[in-house]
């Protein structure tokens, strides 16, 4: 099956304009998502995953602003289209599951009415049909007593239930691209499995592309076709899932994989990457990872590496490979 490019993000820059100056939360991010493909984005928390997805949705709120790059969806540049056209896409072709399920639901409306809203907006259905569909969606995401939950208010649900409601809402219109920002963090594994299965089904049936943001490498391993690793507002590595797990190239990726607790074994101490993500003020001018990198060299301190192809479709932003390549070629 030939896969067309559905979404292509290139050199996206989203800055937050604070009093202390502009904070580049997303600093030149590029990647592609093909139809029916599942792209997982992993990375340190605070590295700009959510902001990237909000940028795609066109929902970055002030003081944030997209200051550069473009986002093409079906070849259409989303950074230039009118608000009205954007609205037609949102919730329909493009939908998103937000990270904070607890505050993302309006406390004054029932689950049902918030769920129906999106269905009624984008589909030609009657209220009753929308209701049927809403309840069906709730059942699909594994919510017990769906009819009752449909009539409940957000505060009456547990975190996981709210998360599932958000998922139901995002899936209601069978979007072409689903951006799922940590959709299963609040869920227990059995429901997580259900939801992941639901997403897989979506891919199979509707050829939906998924941009899956998660911290759970287990989920990545299970779901993703391609994995993007972000660090400090940049993409540092991109590879297909097998390559990435088998041969992580970037030292940060390596660190991540090493830190994952395994269920089979018991370690005394988990491995972790020392240090913290630099802040805006402390952002190195060279490689952004060098202060924490075991392989850092003078070059890393001085110059920023660019995203290099290192074969097999794997991309990496690291001088180690530059050096190698320079050496080899």
């Amino acid at each position: 099956m030939k896969k067309d490019t559905l979404l292509s993000v290139s050199e996206l820059k989203t800055y937050f304009f604070m009093e202390s100056g502009a904070v580049p939360s997303v600093h030149g991010v590029s990647f592609e998502v093909k139809q029916g493909e599942t792209v997982a984005i992993v990375g340190e928390s605070g590295c700009g995953k959510s902001v990237t997805s909000l940028s795609i949705m066109g929902l970055v709120s002030s003081p944030g602003k997209i200051v550069g790059g473009d986002i093409r969806f079906h070849g259409q540049d989303l950074t230039t289209i009118s608000e009205k056209e954007y609205r037609k896409l949102r919730g329909n072709d493009l939908s998103m599951i937000f990270q904070e399920p607890l505050t993302s639901l309006n406390p004054l409306f029932t689950i049902g009415s918030q769920l129906d809203e999106v269905i009624l907006l984008h589909q030609q259905v009657t209220k009753e049909e929308a209701r049927q569909k809403g309840i069906e969606m709730l059942k699909k995401v594994g919510i017990p007593r769906a009819e009752q939950v449909y009539r409940s208010y957000p505060h009456q649900l547990s975190g996981g239930m709210r998360q599932r409601v958000m998922i139901a809402m995002a899936l209601a219109c069978e979007p072409k691209l689903l951006i799922a920002d940590e959709p299963t963090t609040a869920l227990d594994v059995t429901i997580q499995a259900q939801i992941l299965q639901l997403m897989r089904k979506l891919v199979k049936d509707n050829n939906t592309a998924i941009m899956l943001i998660t911290h759970d490498l287990g989920v990545v391993a299970e779901m993703a076709d391609t994995v993007i690793v972000m660090y400090a507002g940049q993409v540092v590595e991109q590879a297909d899932v097998f390559t990435l797990f088998a041969a992580p190239a970037h030292p940060y990726t390596q660190g991540l994989l090493a830190s994952t607790p395994k269920i089979q074994t018991i370690e005394e101490e988990l491995q972790s990457i020392e240090g913290t993500v630099p802040t805006q003020e402390t952002m190195p001018k060279g490689c952004r990872f060098f202060p924490r990198c075991p392989h850092a060299s003078e070059q890393c301190v001085q110059n920023q590496p660019s995203l290099l192809k290192i074969g097999g479709g794997q991309l990496v932003r690291c001088w180690l490979f530059d050096a190698k390549e320079a050496a080899s070629g």
Binding site: E83, Y86, S95, F98, P107, H122
Partner: protein, 305 residues
């Protein structure tokens, strides 16, 4: 909920009793009505005599006790000034006051809601600044000035509305407008501030992500959430409006409670003051109850045990 309402209504009785006591004490402290009833040149003996025959020379508690005794039988006593039973006198005024209050509130709310939402969504735009200026002027214009101005413009110069009195819808327009400006100003400002807060919430982003029109996002999701402070203010204002329309009522010679009450206070006409306060208290308590019930209806998170 029903039991809650009944409980609240039950609480009304002690509150009314306390109010009656406070009012009685206040009027008592405020002074003897007799001197006000007699002409300027009445002699002291005349005053003392009338005081004694009205029983106003008895100790406070005796007077209050008697009053309470009558009150329990549903009697508010006779007005010194009008020589008739007080409660019917007050009730007779109630429709006029309610008419004016409701009209003013409706007018205020209809003016304020779009204006408040508009200034919240377009913060610091010319519209917002204009609305801010307008609200301040609305608040800073004393009702007597505004009322007289409205009469001058719309009645004397343009002849569109009758000058004063109560009756047709035309009579209602100017006084209601006079009262509404101040209320509208307050509601506008409050709505603006709570809307600004709410528009920052995550669920607004969710609504936008559904592809809703911005207008719908604002009206459905944000507005509903800002209704709680709005309900409080409107309920509060109802009480203010019911008891405090004096100036507007005077300017437009509107035969409402305000005029009656103020005159009664000025003449220390206990029975009328008590009856007025009673009626107002019932209204106030009722409005606050309505507000609390509305909170509950609006915000499912609020629970009353």
């Amino acid at each position: 909920m029903a039991s809650y309402i009944f409980k609240r209504l039950g609480e009304m009785i002690p509150v009314l009793l306390i109010i009656s006591f406070i009012v009685f004490a206040l009027v008592f402290v405020a002074g003897n009505p007799v001197a006000l009833m007699l002409p300027e040149d009445a002699s002291q003996e005349d005053i003392d005599q009338l005081t004694a025959s009205l029983g106003l020379d008895q100790p406070f508690l005796v007077q209050y006790g008697k009053y309470l005794f009558h009150l329990v039988q549903g009697e508010f006593g006779e007005s010194f000034r009008y020589n008739t039973s007080a409660l019917p006198l007050v009730l007779e005024r109630l429709p006029a006051t309610l008419e004016l209050a409701v009209a003013a509130l409706v007018l205020a709310v209809t003016m304020a809601i779009p204006l408040g939402i508009w200034s919240a969504t377009k913060q610091n735009s010319p519209v917002d600044l204009l609305a801010a200026g307008g609200s301040v002027i609305g608040k800073a214009m004393p009702n007597f000035w505004l009322g007289i101005m409205l009469i001058l413009i719309f009645s004397v110069m343009l002849g569109w509305f009758p000058v004063s009195g109560r009756g047709t819808l035309g009579h209602l327009v100017l006084p209601a407008l006079t009262l509404a400006t101040g209320l509208a100003a307050e509601i506008t400002r409050l709505l603006r501030s709570s809307m600004i807060e709410i528009l920052n919430q995550d669920y607004i982003r969710t609504a936008r992500s559904k592809g809703m029109r911005e207008g719908m996002v604002v009206y459905k999701h944000a507005f509903r959430n800002s209704l709680i402070p709005l309900v409080t203010v409107v309920a509060l204002q109802t009480s203010t409006v019911v008891g405090g329309t004096l100036i507007t009522e005077t300017v437009f010679s509107w035969p409402g409670l305000g005029q009656l009450l103020i005159q009664a206070v000025h003449t220390r006409d206990m029975a009328i003051v008590q009856a007025c306060v009673f009626v107002i208290a019932v209204l106030v308590i009722f409005m606050n109850l309505v507000a609390d019930v509305l909170y509950r209806l609006l915000d499912p998170r609020i629970k009353y045990e």
